[in-house]
């Protein structure tokens, strides 16, 4: 379960202050899929970073599975992220010097889990044939499928996806999305997905919109 209380995030650039998030509160139940919409610069990535514990709020609290992230040390947050959170990004962020299989094994290894599971996940995303290939040989859609496998292989409780199909053509986007939806539902993972795409949003149980740092659920404001 994700609980956000009165989250604000202010960026300071010299004298200039920019409020990327203004007093955002939200609760997402375990296993729920939530889509986050909003114009460019409205604070979507900022919010995702706060949930994942890779950034800290200026004020407010981030609580995941009753652990208060913003009170943890950097080290604790890292370990928390390692065990509980998975990330997927628009640019796939695969490790170029590890093979496809090794990329998927990495989270298991970091968590001292059995690396066997990596093969199952690769099979599920349909990339078993590419297991010993380096990522730069794969197409964008294939790379994103590897990223999904890697993000879910250690069964995190929260999966955060920032425009996972943003860099893909319609066809690959559909494929990636289908996989994501299926896997998340099967594993019971909570998914927060940032998107500009109506297709992605349709996958969600609930849809929220960020408008200049404020969270609303009025979808009609969004320009698709």
């Amino acid at each position: 379960m994700i609980q956000l209380h009165n989250l604000s995030r202010t960026y300071r650039e010299g004298q200039c202050k920019r409020e990327a998030l203004r007093s955002v509160s939200l609760t997402v139940a375990r296993g729920e899929v939530v889509a986050l919409l909003g114009r460019s610069g409205s604070g979507k990535s900022t919010l995702l970073n706060l949930i994942g514990g890779i950034d800290l709020p200026s004020t407010g609290e981030v609580i995941i599975d009753s652990q208060v992230l913003n009170r943890m040390s950097e080290y604790e947050r890292t370990l928390f992220r390692r065990r509980r959170v998975g990330f997927i990004y628009q640019f796939f962020n695969l490790i170029p010097t590890l093979t496809v299989l090794e990329n998927v094994q990495l989270p298991l290894e970091l968590n001292f889990l059995d690396v066997e599971r990596a093969d199952q996940l690769l099979d599920k995303v349909g990339l078993t044939d590419y297991r010993d290939t380096y990522p730069d040989r794969l197409s964008g859609g294939e790379q994103q499928r590897v990223a999904i496998a890697r993000a879910l292989v250690h069964e995190p409780t929260v999966l955060l996806a920032d425009e996972p199909t943003g860099n893909l053509d319609a066809e690959s986007g559909r494929l990636v999305l289908g996989l994501l939806g299926d896997l998340v539902r099967v594993q019971g993972t909570t998914l927060v997905v940032v998107t500009h795409s109506r297709k992605v949003a349709e996958l969600a149980d609930r849809i929220f919109v960020l408008d200049d740092g404020r969270l609303t659920d009025r979808i009609d404001e969004v320009i698709w």
């Binding site: 890779i54 390692r82 490790i95 010097t97 094994q105």
Partner: protein
């Protein structure tokens, strides 16, 4: 192996040139240190061996004044005191078949307790030594080298006299240290006395005293029969005093080698920084996955450790090869200036190797520390942002400059401390270097901003892009420029120092060498006239037409305050006035007092080392015992590091039994023809001994040639520092351009031709080289001043006038520019020829 280390190692493997350059940089840095260390140790070892071979197991030695001991002392010792454990010895150096031999005369019958190995199993040969004059023994490998077999006769030259001697036996080298016996010739005392023309003299008498309560009493009894000038010394402290002479010289070599390592460290820092920066995206992705800061830190350090190990091991190999060349250069220098080393072999000892290995690894880790911390600080969301690190690096620049300023000020504070410590001097040197280097990125950034608008207007957008790139990636360009700057500054500093030294010596030579011709017997040292001239020589030369006046000189080693120093006895002919340039003392008062034998003059280094000034007394071990002489004045002298005492001949003869003269200075009448007089002198002395008759100019040239030889090692080290820096900027530029693959790809897509891209890269590297050269000039001058005024003065006590020629500056600029452009060529070419599509696809 874990996936983490696999990811890191594969990265290195995918950038082979970067890997090779980094390893090479470490290797060269380590190689320089190791080679200098091995060389120093070898020289020291050679020295120990030379001493050890003849010192045997003596605990004490009786030594005399400069002319040695009278052999009757030995008889007294045995007969009156009944000292069985004593052995007489006389040793000289001679030349045979182009090799220097250490000829040692012993009494075989007294030897067993001391140097038993020479006489054991050699009964027949030893009996021949005693019964037949002019017979010698040597060790088998020396004989092989000289191409001699038993019963062969050969010529040995001592002080211009050739003597025929016969090899009658070989002593085996089942001894633990065969090298100790190299070049050693054993014979009996009478033979050495004969060939060195020292009848009745001994160099020393070895004693073996048990270390118990009785010793003091025995020593007391020995003292009661000693002739004036003779004394008993501890065998160990004696050899220590000799070795002490080369200390400053060896320290300076070590410092030079450390400088090369520092340059190497910059290279390592550079490489690791690149490796980190290029992987910031990757590291951020790892951090997203939950890799902790500690893990990232260890990953980078671990990877660097591996590089450090490989580089250091390679460095040991290169260093070993290098040392073989260095040891010859250094041995020659030691022979020129200090004492005769018969052994010039490189000795491999574990200690310098281990030290080199440790130093290489530690230096690598130290250099990697900052980039590793930087890597560990990578925020996970940096995976999503590009320019984060660059922004931080730029904000780091002023802070670095402040640190640099603080270090420089610290160096200045240390500088004004009233200290004579050489170590502190080196601290000043290194702090100053580091301080100035840290300030350089800020200066580069200022400089670039200053020329940017102008360059843009003059040369167009391409140049703007090129220069803009320097500032935009200052975290890397700054380091590359700093490393190159440091290396070039080092050559400028050392270059100015050597130039200044040379010109000072040149001036000094022309004001000190006053005679038209110099006559001496060939010795082993090219500088010091140490061999006695035959009495007949002086008389014959006096008769040569054209010779108006003669001065005589005689140079010996004496002991003063536990140090070995040189003493020069100057005999002035009529109408010649001494004109040594004085550092302290009024010539109008000093020289009359000197001529009236009211005291002695001392050289500048001696005044420095013994802290003496005018009016002080200097104690000297003479043949009549320790005498204190008033110091009348201090003169400039660059011939001897340990220092020299100048004494008038007549005063010298009152205190020393030595009547030999080792050099003559001939003053010609105004109408005499130099060449003609040289021939006449040669003819007149044809049947006496082989002589060197050299004109004033030849002596000057020879002296300068030796000077240049002394600094040959320095030049080798200087060159190596530049090579290391070159590798540094090569790798820096390669990495830099690799970073910009995408940017350049965009330019190519926009319509830049490959030629334009190459031009841009060259403009950038050229600008960086130029900047480095420019910064190197003031830094180099500061370095030179510290070397001249602090390091040199504290090591040797010499004053030098700083001489700066425009050449040095031009060389610095050219060196930096050429190195930078060369280093930019390959990356430029590669960038220009990377297919645009591939360049765009990267990242």
């Amino acid at each position: 192996m874990s996936s983490l280390s696999r990811a890191s190692l594969r990265y290195l493997w995918r950038h082979p040139w970067q890997l090779v350059l980094a390893v090479l940089g470490i290797a060269l840095g380590v190689a320089v240190v190791v080679s200098v260390d091995l060389t120093n140790e070898s020289v020291r070892r050679a020295f120990d061996l030379s001493v050890q071979a003849v010192a045997g197991e003596a605990s004490h030695q009786i030594i005399g004044g400069p002319s040695g001991l009278d052999e009757t002392l030995y008889t007294q010792l045995r007969v009156e005191l009944g000292m069985r454990d004593s052995a007489p010895l006389i040793d000289i150096y001679g030349k045979a078949r182009a090799s220097t031999l250490h000829v040692v005369g012993i009494d075989p019958l007294a030897e067993i307790p001391f140097r038993g190995r020479f006489v054991k199993q050699q009964d027949a040969a030893v009996r021949t030594l005693l019964s037949t004059p002019g017979t010698v023994l040597m060790d088998a490998s020396t004989a092989r080298r000289l191409d001699l077999s038993v019963d062969d006769r050969f010529k040995i030259t001592v002080g211009g006299h050739a003597h025929e001697i016969q090899l009658v036996g070989l002593f085996g080298s089942h001894d633990s240290n065969p090298a100790a016996l190299d070049s050693l010739v054993i014979t009996d005392i009478a033979t050495v006395q004969a060939i060195s023309n020292q009848p009745g003299r001994l160099s020393r008498i070895d004693l073996k005293l048990r270390n118990d309560n009785g010793t003091a009493a025995v020593l007391k009894r020995i003292h009661s029969i000693l002739q004036p000038g003779a004394r008993v010394v501890d065998a160990e402290s004696r050899s220590h005093a000799l070795l002490q002479m080369t200390r400053a010289f060896r320290t300076n070599l070590t410092a030079m080698s450390l400088l090369a390592l520092v340059v190497g460290m910059f290279l390592i820092y550079n490489t690791v920084t690149f490796a980190v920066l290029q992987r910031r995206g990757l590291i951020a992705s790892l951090r997203l996955l939950g890799v902790t800061r500690g893990q990232v830190f260890r990953l980078i350090l671990g990877e660097t450790l591996l590089l450090g190990l490989i580089g250091s091991v390679l460095g040991l190999l290169i260093g070993f090869t290098l040392a073989q060349g260095l040891v010859h250069l250094v041995t020659r220098t030691v022979n020129d200036h200090y004492f005769v080393l018969t052994v010039g072999e490189l000795v491999i000892m574990p200690w310098p190797l281990l030290k080199g290995l440790a130093l290489g690894v530690v230096a690598t880790l130290l250099a990697a520390l900052l980039p590793a911390v930087e890597a560990a600080r990578t925020e996970p969301h940096a995976a999503l942002q590009r320019s984060g690190i660059e922004v931080r690096a730029r904000s780091l620049v002023p802070r670095l400059a402040m640190t640099g300023l603080a270090l420089t000020l610290g160096a200045l504070v240390l500088l004004v401390l009233p200290s004579r410590s050489l170590l502190l001097g080196f601290a000043v040197l290194f702090l100053m270097i580091l301080g100035l280097t840290l300030m350089s990125p800020l200066v580069v950034s200022w400089l670039t901003h200053a020329v940017l608008p102008l360059a843009g207007r003059l040369f167009g957008i391409q140049t703007r892009l090129a220069l803009g790139g320097v500032v935009a990636s200052l975290s890397r360009t700054g380091v590359a420029i700093a490393a190159l700057m440091l290396a070039v500054a080092t050559t400028v500093g050392v270059g100015v120092m050597v130039d200044s030294f040379r010109s000072t010596v040149e001036q000094w030579l022309s004001s000190t060498l006053r005679a038209d011709l110099y006559v001496s017997a060939p010795g082993l040292s090219t500088i010091r006239p140490e061999m006695a001239l035959d009495m007949a020589v002086l008389e014959r030369v006096r008769e040569v037409p054209g010779v108006a006046a003669i001065s005589t000189g005689s140079q010996i080693m004496v002991e003063s305050d536990g140090r070995l120093i040189e003493l020069f006895a100057l005999g002035l002919g009529h109408s010649i006035l001494p004109r040594y340039p004085l550092k302290a003392g009024d010539p109008g008062q000093v020289w009359p007092a000197f001529l009236a034998n009211r005291g002695v003059l001392i050289s500048e280094p001696l005044a420095w080392h013994q802290r003496l000034t005018i009016g002080d007394l200097i104690p000297i071990h003479t043949d009549t015992g320790i005498r204190a002489f008033p110091v009348l004045g201090i003169y400039y002298d660059y011939s001897s590091e340990q220092g020299e005492v100048l004494m008038q001949r007549s005063l010298y003869e009152q205190h020393f039994e030595d009547h030999a003269v080792s050099a003559l200075g001939l003053y010609l009448s105004p109408d005499a023809d130099l060449q003609r007089v040289i021939e006449l002198v040669r003819d007149a002395t044809l049947d006496t001994q082989y002589l060197m008759v050299r004109s004033n100019r030849t002596v000057r040239e020879t002296s300068l040639a030796i000077f240049d030889r002394t600094f040959a090692v320095t030049n080798v080290l200087r060159l190596l520092a530049v090579i290391v820096a070159f590798i540094g900027i090569l790798s820096a530029f390669m990495a830099l351009q690799l970073e910009r693959v995408r940017e350049l790809g965009v330019l190519r897509a926009t319509g830049f031709t490959p030629g334009q891209v190459t031009g841009m890269v060259t403009a950038q590297t050229g600008f960086m080289g130029f900047t480095a050269g420019l910064l190197a000039i003031p830094t180099g001058l500061v370095l030179a001043e510290i070397l001249i005024e602090v390091i040199n003065r504290r090591s040797f006590g010499w004053s030098m006038k700083t001489v700066v020629s425009a050449d040095v500056f031009l060389q610095a600029l050219a060196l930096a520019l050429v190195a930078a452009i060369l280093a930019g060529l390959y990356p430029g070419w590669r960038m220009a020829h990377t297919p645009t599509a591939r360049a765009l696809r990267q990242e």
